[in-house]
């Protein structure tokens, strides 16, 4: 073909490429880490390898997985969202307050009659998270505050408001939640709420990896000048990313509310760090442009497997922080092998 700007074809070895790819693949390594952890814990405490333990781990995993998925979008876009933990607390408190005071729902409602309350609660919780996410986006896009400080500020404000609304004490739930956590934890590691989380995450994962929304998130984190030069409305997209992160944190607030049976202002304390740790263990780069949903999911699962395992094998509480630190460092450094297509 005449006039074609042909660059030299490259010598490749596709089979070797594929094998190397599998071996150094982020997800493969994480699954390996997971298997090793489960193996060690089960050896030290045979009761660890059981359905109830899996159920415990999955239940713990649920709330953090939700916010970690939102955080994955934020981190891939090159930002960070420190407000998610506080949003969990605030949205739970506001949902509880609304049901108890705003709607006057009765605490004794049982079974299917609880459904309307749940729906209202979930809407309110997600709405609160969404609102905080939009405030984050405003601070970042309009006031040009870097995400770390912008979301640190909203984190403080959310903590403040949840205390103001709740006077510091948990607000009791207006509903009985047995209908949504009714699976038998002895026979089945999943509960209805965890299944709900998995569905939400699957949808988010599809959007991240298969849709235009996800592609733009990667593009902005990779090179925001290039993204805007390609016609992407960077501000609008970042607004959606922070709104998504906030909304998922609101949903996590509802999850925690259902679990605790109460909206507690302190219920999300420190969860932002768990979420960020899960995302980074999952292989994302805090510089943006890199990260995968599968990695995040496994990262969160590893975190909670470690937490549960250490208690079951009887590590003393004061040593737990030290051991967790060592295990996380080990898990992350297992990825050194992995060949990232990072910038510089």
């Amino acid at each position: 073909m005449t006039g074609s700007v042909k660059v030299a074809p490259t010598a490749r070895n596709d089979r070797r490429d594929h094998l190397v790819g599998v071996a150094t693949n982020q997800v493969t390594i994480l699954i390996g880490v997971m298997v090793i952890l489960v193996g060690i814990f089960s050896l030290l405490e045979p009761k660890f390898f059981s359905v109830p333990t899996a159920n415990n781990i999955l239940t713990d995993w649920g709330s953090v997985a939700l916010i970690a998925v939102g955080q994955t979008f934020v981190i891939i876009s090159g930002g960070i969202d420190l407000s998610v933990g506080a949003i969990v607390g605030l949205s739970g408190v506001v949902a509880a307050w609304t049901m108890a005071n705003g709607l006057g729902l009765d605490q004794t409602v049982k079974g299917a009659d609880a459904a309307p309350g749940l729906v209202v609660g979930a809407l309110v919780a997600v709405g609160v998270g969404l609102g905080v996410g939009l405030v984050n986006a405003f601070l970042i896009n309009v006031l040009k505050i870097v995400p770390f400080i912008a979301t640190l500020a909203t984190m403080g404000a959310c903590l403040g408001f949840s205390v103001i609304i709740s006077s510091g004490a948990p607000i009791g739930s207006a509903n009985d939640f047995s209908l949504i956590s009714a699976m038998d934890p002895k026979a089945n590691p999943f509960s209805w709420t965890v299944l709900g989380v998995i569905i939400v995450i699957a949808i988010a994962g599809l959007f991240l990896h298969k849709s235009r929304f996800g592609l733009y998130t990667y593009a902005i984190g990779s090179n925001s000048f290039a993204a805007s030069a390609a016609g992407i409305n960077v501000k609008r997209h970042l607004t959606m990313v922070y709104a998504l992160s906030g909304a998922l944190a609101g949903l996590a607030g509802m999850f925690v509310y259902i679990r605790l049976g109460a909206g507690s202002p302190s219920s999300g304390t420190g969860r932002e760090l768990d979420a960020i740790a899960a995302v980074v263990i999952g292989g994302a780069s805090l510089m943006g442009g890199i990260g995968r949903i599968w990695g995040t999911i496994l990262g969160a699962l590893i975190l909670f497997t470690v937490q549960s395992g250490l208690i079951m094998i009887g590590v003393a509480p004061d040593w737990k922080k030290v051991v967790v630190a060592v295990l996380i460092a080990a898990a992350v450094s297992a990825q050194v092998l992995q060949n990232r297509n990072g910038r510089k």
Partner: protein
């Protein structure tokens, strides 16, 4: 109390008691651990001591209780960080045939709980008000300013103490006004900052109620730095060794001490009794009184109530 059938039959099996407390970094629980370990050794049972390293919160405690129960202990001593949120965990334990006791704080529904042993935070708060009023030489018709250093808006123990303190002030010392409160967020340096600013803002400040050990440490340091130790009344809570030493030097007017070790010992003793004999002499609710430590307290009592860890 629990009438569960597993009660008496476990006498010959090895007894494992899981003890899930609030936050390991709080010396209160460290002192409790000492009592629990002593009693467990004395009774010849296995103690599993668990809890969050530093967060006093329901969301971190529930997974710990879940994991501990997965190990199928004989009994569970629980210090619930939230009365509503931990109810389900207690129900779950009882359903699995685990004997449950509450110490220090309780769940809403005590009907399945063997016993609830506590210090009285409300009473502690009102004793603090008495000690402070004595120090500032309260007279009717006078007007006095005091401040209260709190931990965080969500710390549940703060609530009872502050309620007791406020109620006692309103009832007995109407001339005292609580002019401000502030949070230390578990950081003694922040507690010192709060006191420093109060000293500037309220030059005539008469007294400080430091609601926990951290606030006590910070307030003591701030008063010492400004050379105001002894002139301004300072009543603290919890008998940290360092703070007890400062009663003698006149920095603390008084410390309200609980007896966490005694609470733990009684809980373990009752459980073992119940499992081995099918019943216990301990009542369903036991209140272990607070002690006021001040300059009149004997050296023996001072060292007896000081929180020690091993």
């Amino acid at each position: 109390a629990s009438g569960d059938s597993t009660g008496g039959s476990a006498a010959d099996e090895e007894i494992t008691i899981a003890f899930v407390m609030g936050a390991e970094s709080d010396p209160f629980f460290q002192a409790m651990k000492v009592g629990a370990e002593e009693e467990a050794a004395a009774q010849g049972v296995t103690l599993v001591w668990q809890g969050d390293p530093s967060n006093y919160s329901a969301e971190t405690q529930i997974p710990i209780v879940d994991a501990v129960l997965a190990n199928q202990p004989t009994a569970l001593v629980l210090i619930p960080t939230d009365p509503v949120a931990l109810q389900a965990s207690v129900d779950k334990a009882v359903a699995a045939g685990v004997v449950v006791a509450n110490v220090d704080t309780r769940v809403d529904d005590l009907s399945d709980v063997l016993t609830f042993i506590t210090g009285d935070n409300n009473d502690g708060g009102s004793k603090a008000a008495d000690a402070l009023a004595a120090k500032i030489g309260y007279e009717d018709g006078g007007s006095y300013e005091v401040v209260v250093g709190l931990t965080s808006p969500t710390a549940t123990t703060n609530v009872g103490r502050l309620d007791g303190f406020t109620a006692q002030v309103e009832a007995k010392y109407p001339g005292i006004s609580i002019v401000d409160v502030a949070y230390s967020e578990s950081n003694p340096e922040k507690a010192a900052t709060n006191v420093n600013n109060w000293l500037t803002k309220f030059p005539g400040l008469d007294g400080i109620f430091a609601i926990d050990g951290t606030n006590g440490s910070g307030a003591a340091a701030a008063l010492e730095a400004k050379g105001l130790d002894g002139t301004i009344g300072l009543v603290g809570y919890d008998a940290y060794p360092d703070n007890v030493a400062k009663i003698k030097s006149g920095i603390f007017t008084a410390l309200i001490a609980q007896d966490p070790a005694a609470e733990a010992r009684l809980a373990i003793k009752s459980i073992v009794e119940f499992i081995r004999e099918g019943k216990t002499s301990t009542k369903a609710e036991v209140v272990i009184p607070n002690v006021v430590l001040d300059e009149t307290t004997s050296a023996d009592d001072l060292s007896k109530y000081t929180y020690v860890a091993n």
